[in-house]
């Protein structure tokens, strides 16, 4: 069974490396600032302590005030997993750095989030609609979509 790392433990190590990046910590997850999600993800992937070489999923949640992106990462070598979150407060110009260059599995999931939630991923090689067609207006999974 994969061991879930506690948010406090992960946040402590992230904060040692990148100060003022972690914005909130819970038992389960670490919330980091959206502009630094790429460097934190890169650190979690490459550092010897974490070695998170597998991205389980990316999910997006609309909390009215902000969008929250949830990344679950797993290390096959250490057999542990952790949850990384980031928040995007701008509804009109929602831009978050892409992690496709770290995990190829993020490609279609980021496109789906872009399609249905309207969050643009900066640095994605092929950011366009995947489920709906070109020319569809709006992003249907947003809470304010009618």
């Amino acid at each position: 069974m994969t061991i879930s790392l506690s948010g406090q433990k992960v946040a402590k190590q992230i904060a040692e490396r990148f100060p003022e990046v972690v914005s909130e910590v819970t038992d389960q997850a670490v919330v980091v600032k959206s502009e630094s999600i790429f460097k934190v993800a890169e650190y979690l992937k490459n550092s010897q302590d974490f070695k998170c070489d597998y991205l389980n999923y990316i999910a997006a949640v609309d909390y009215y005030d902000y969008f929250e992106l949830v990344y679950q990462l797993t290390s096959r070598e250490h057999n542990h997993s952790l949850v990384l979150k980031t928040r995007c407060y701008d509804r009109d110009k929602s831009i978050v750095p892409s992690v496709v260059s770290l995990w190829r599995g993020a490609d279609f999931q980021e496109r789906e989030i872009y399609d249905l939630m309207g969050i643009a991923f900066e640095g994605h090689p092929n950011l366009k609609r995947i489920v709906l067609w070109e020319g569809f207006s709006g992003h249907p999974l947003r809470k304010d979509y009618l």
Binding site: G123, K128, L132, W133, E134
Partner: protein, 209 residues
């Protein structure tokens, strides 16, 4: 952040053309295609004049070996597969072969929810089937969109896209219900006239681009 392109992506021009095609189809499919039901009241011809005999023979031949095409976008397909398998055994009606090519089929059983993105393909399957052809709308989604009717991406009934002959309600309908629908379609085919085609009084829709 430089990312090399590992895989071949489709061109944005192709995506735009697809989007325009879907929007055009959506615009044309605002109203359901009418499906007249006068045939329900028609009595079976009993007089043995030569024309009705030709009709009877042709209709018997047609209804006794319907060949379904493959159009199973969602979960009703499993009831169709169950109906096709040994317990319910559609081969009793001469329709055990599900053709992979619509050109070899004459009945489309629309088993499942249809999204607008899939709609042009379903219309193309229907257009490629050889005349005479019939459509059975199977399940709540096939009839009206079902529980997904008000969704942003679901076609509210196959009769927006293709002319439907028989509606089989249920979510999903059991194989018995589907077989009853197929028997009704047999009934409808057996009342068709070759000389004055009463089968389809639906005007042909303009072809897709």
């Amino acid at each position: 952040m430089e990312i090399s392109r590992y895989s071949a992506y489709s061109d944005i021009e192709l995506d735009k053309a697809e989007g325009e095609q879907i929007e055009a189809l959506k615009l044309r499919a605002q109203e359901p295609i009418p499906d007249p039901d006068e045939w329900l009241d028609i009595e079976m011809p009993s007089n043995a004049i030569i024309l009705s005999t030709v009709d009877a023979l042709l209709n018997w031949a047609r209804r006794s070996s319907l060949w379904p095409s493959i159009c199973f976008p969602a979960c009703c397909a499993f009831e169709l597969i169950a109906a096709n398998a040994s317990r319910f055994d559609l081969s009793r009606f001469g329709m055990e072969i599900l053709r992979a090519s619509p050109r070899q089929a004459d009945v489309m059983i629309t088993a499942g929810t249809l999204t607008w993105k899939m709609a042009p393909q379903v219309r193309r399957i229907y257009d490629q089937m050889a005349e005479p052809k019939w459509v059975i709308a199977m399940g709540a989604c096939g009839i009206s969109g079902g529980i997904f009717r008000s969704s942003y991406n679901v076609v509210p009934g196959y009769n927006r896209i293709v002319p439907v002959d028989i509606y089989v309600p249920g979510c999903p309908p059991r194989p018995e219900a589907l077989i009853y629908g197929i028997r009704m379609l047999h009934n409808k085919i057996s009342k068709a006239h070759i000389v004055s085609p009463a089968k389809k009084t639906i005007e042909k829709r303009e072809e897709l681009p």
